[in-house]
């Protein structure tokens, strides 16, 4: 078998180019076939990493570090690769039915986005990571702008500036690191960075992490996310909320764990504090949101907050790391499902308003189930992946006596219940007679069932917790 690492990057580039040349109809088929192969490759890679127990390397074109580019995959990378392809595949099916051949820009941009993400997960040096970050950011901005309306363009531009500032900060950090150590390879840097490193290194670490937090929409850098994710077409929102923000989070985690571990101890409380604020503020805004997509987008702000709670809890028992990995997976699946379900609701009712879903329980049971199951994951109710993540997070917080965090986690779950049930409740309400007469479009089965499949996966992934944790352990 050939090495899966380069193919995970090359394949999406190939089908993206193909989709650009062949048009949306054939492009969609190409994209689906390509993504299916990528999914298989990602699983094969995970199996290899898991059995090897350490990271795998691949020198691109036979030229390894320091002169060439080295690709590397450990358990964490493999997990995110699987998640990315696993979420993208049903979403592409969804997108094909959603756009119905009308959106030529989607497939090439989605391909470049996936290529960028896969490359990001596989990169082993800081500069290469910068390039992939930009690739992901530019493709994502293009997807947000795809609708072409003034609002969407404005949201895209806001997003573009946020992501450019974020990666600019990161780049300056990389420059400083190279200036001090003369290398950007993560493996080479790990032994060099110590607690008595020169101030330039501290400054660089701060810049890089701050830039990445801006890109992950951590409170208070979240301002760009709700308009960008809430304004894009449903499949795009799903891709962005489920996957793209996880890319920069992955990078933060990676840097935090490896080269910067000696530096970050002192400030570990800061991301947790911001994460806690994100949970409360994001949930509160979701509770007040009037538009469905806005609600789901604010929920992303809140859910990302959980990811940042793990930093002060990272330790030898790895409970917090496991919680973070589980939350990334569970939220990725659930948020993709939720945006997909909301897309159906909007398409059928013709309006993007929480008030207008009254009575859909009777007409769109599958979609509503998808929304509900995704909601279970977001609330952290059993047996979903979100529940396991929350369980481990509370456990880790208790072991370190962090009562404040336990309270925030539990409160966040209740607030999530409020905004999820706001929608469900409305859906069970009998519509008034005037609303019942409004002409509605019939739902497309593919849209409903792909949303449902993603949602079911987000709940059932809780039963495969052991495998996910085992994969995370491999070489991370």
């Amino acid at each position: 078998m050939t090495d899966p690492l380069p193919w995970l990057i090359l394949l999406p580039l190939l089908w993206a180019t193909g989709a650009f040349l062949l048009g949306p109809a054939r492009g969609a088929r190409l994209a689906l076939a390509g993504t299916a192969v990528q999914l298989w490759l990602a699983f094969a890679l995970a199996a290899k990493v898991s059995s090897a127990g350490t990271a795998l390397h691949h020198p691109v074109g036979g030229w390894g570090a320091p002169l060439g580019i080295d690709l590397a995959a450990d358990g964490l990378a493999a997990l995110l690769l699987i998640l990315t392809q696993f979420v993208a595949l049903p979403l592409f099916l969804y997108a094909r039915a959603y756009f119905a051949g009308k959106s030529p820009a989607f497939w090439p941009l989605a391909g470049f986005l996936l290529a960028g993400m896969n490359a990001l997960f596989l990169s082993a040096d800081l500069f290469n990571l910068y390039v992939t970050l930009e690739l992901v950011g530019l493709a994502a901005v293009g997807l947000v702008a795809m609708g072409g309306g003034a609002q969407q363009l404005a949201a895209a531009l806001r997003y573009l500036f946020a992501t450019l500032v974020g990666s600019g900060l990161y780049l300056l950090g990389v420059a400083l690191i190279y200036g001090v150590f003369g290398t950007v390879s993560i493996t080479a840097l790990t032994p060099l960075v110590t607690a008595d490193a020169p101030p330039a290194v501290w400054f660089a670490a701060g810049l890089m992490l701050a830039g990445l937090m801006a890109k992950t929409a951590l409170f208070p850098f979240h301002y760009w996310l709700p308009p960008a994710h809430g304004g894009a077409p449903a499949p795009v929102s799903a891709l962005l909320s489920a996957l793209v923000v996880k890319a920069s989070f992955y990078l933060i985690l990676r840097l935090w764990l490896h080269p910067f571990a000696p530096l970050t101890q002192v400030a570990a409380w800061l991301p947790a504090l911001l994460g806690g604020a994100a949970i409360l503020w994001g949930s509160w805004q979701a509770i007040r949101a009037e538009r469905l997509k806005e609600l789901v987008a604010w929920s992303t702000v809140a859910q990302l907050g959980y990811l940042f709670l793990i930093f002060p809890l990272l330790g030898a028992d790895r409970l917090a790391l496991h919680a973070g990995g589980m939350q990334v997976v569970a939220h990725g699946l659930a948020k993709a499902a939720m945006f997909a379900a909301v897309g159906v609701l909007i398409q059928v009712t013709g309006r993007d308003a929480v008030a207008d879903v009254a009575g859909v329980a009777a007409r769109l049971p599958v979609t509503l189930f998808a929304f509900g199951l995704a909601g279970i994951t977001l609330m952290g109710l059993p047996p979903s992946g979100g529940f396991l993540a929350k369980w481990m997070l509370i456990d880790a917080a208790l072991l370190r006596g962090r009562w404040d965090m336990v309270v925030v986690i539990l409160a966040g779950g209740l607030l999530a219940a409020v905004y999820v049930f706001r929608v469900l409740r409305q859906a069970f309400l009998l519509p008034s007679s005037g609303e019942r007469r409004r002409v509605e479009r019939r739902p497309v089965a593919t849209l409903e069932w792909t949303a449902f499949a993603l949602a079911a996966a987000s709940v059932l992934v809780g039963l495969r917790g052991m495998e996910i944790l085992r994969l995370l352990e491999a070489g991370t």
Partner: protein
Amino acid sequence: MTANEALPLAVIASSLLPGLAIFALPERSVALRSALNLFGALAKLALVATLLAGVAAGEDYAFRYAVLPGIDLAFKADALALLFVTLSAVLWLFTTLYAIGYLENAPHRSRFFGFFSLCVTATMGIAMAANLFTFFIFYELLTLATFPLVVHRGTPQAMRGGTIYLAYTLLGGTLLLAGIVWLNALAGHAEFAHGGYLAAGDAPNWQMQVIFLLLIAGVGVKAAIVPLHGWLPQAMVAPAPVSALLHAVAVVKAGAFGIVRIVYEVYGIEFAQSLDLLAPLAVFAAVTIVWGSFRALFQDDLKKRLAFSTVSQVSYIVLGVALFGPLGTVGGLVHLVHQGIMKITLFFCAGNFAETLGIHKVSEMDGAGRRMPLTTLAFSIGALGMMGAPVTAGAVSKAWLADGAEAAGMDWAIWVLWTSSLLNAAYFLPILWRAWLRPAPAAWPEERIVARGRRETAWLLLLPPLVTAIMTLAAGMFAESPGSPLEWAKLIAAREYRVAH
């Protein structure tokens, strides 16, 4: 997987799989849906019978699946679990029959029966959960599965009831989760064990007490212990079969059963006593018993009166648990079953009155006994049972509870039981008097099902309350014969205390 591992799973699957299949059925395939429901219910009964025979013979039924390192999804069909499982399985069958009759021609039946089956599945999981982690999973599943049933009618009123229900139960679930994870962090992850798995020295006493408070508050919401009972009267907006299920089997019993497990098999009765936890619990139970009965006196809405009666009656179970001594334990456990049979009878009958004649209020009950003698007879048996009249199941529970209170030296508890019985009589007897002795009005509020020949209402509505009323009498009359709920409760108590002493 051996047969002994597969059986608990099969019990859960026998309602889960039909439930999932029913969701997928179109609205109009009534026959197939009913067949699936009944098949599931009968299959479950057969499986439960196998389990009962096995457990009586000393077999172990357990299943384990690792979810996280050191944390298992674990099921165990022990004697205590089977007490609840059997009750749920039997009453599920009758409630299903009743619901098929009740919802004839109603909209959204696939959704209703789907969630109905999920609800029973959750109850089975709660009963057979072998550790707090598993218990919590099904406890929350129960919340989620009952919400669509409570708001089934889709009216703003139903929504309000549903929202209040959710607010209470989700908050309770959060407290429970906090308690479970905390306990897990202190004492490790352990399975329920006779006599409890905690011991002095696992952690400082105050922490054990706070955790106990969290756990009991978490399950106490569903058991409707005052002051956590506010949701129960609100949830009355649900259709009658749902109320029957909520009150007799699923929700409140899940709470009460949780308290039993926590006191006996997590803390252990002796350890709980040494931490001074049982006396306050008994006080809360006593307050609930009296307060629920007292509030019931002033409800004109029939279902609301029954709801407050449930608040009161479920705490008999809690009181029995909190009385330190095997006699109280037997009384509490047997009441878990007896209250279920009696209360489901009452709710079935209330549903019959409402569906057949449009009677929703106590003040409209005049003369109902002449128009619907069989339903009223069943109602009377249930009501007399609740009061603790001789020969009924209620008398057995109350007798054992009173003995338990005496043995534990808590004479005030006997007074609580007496007061409650008097109050029970005060709010049930006027109903019986109106139904049997007052003349019928010229026209019923809303007569929907016209009597044909000797039948007073649809036979699917009539049969279930009659059967459960007969069971109420049988459980009272044959309490001492083998296989009765009382004998089974004695078996459980013997196992709990054999280890404790």
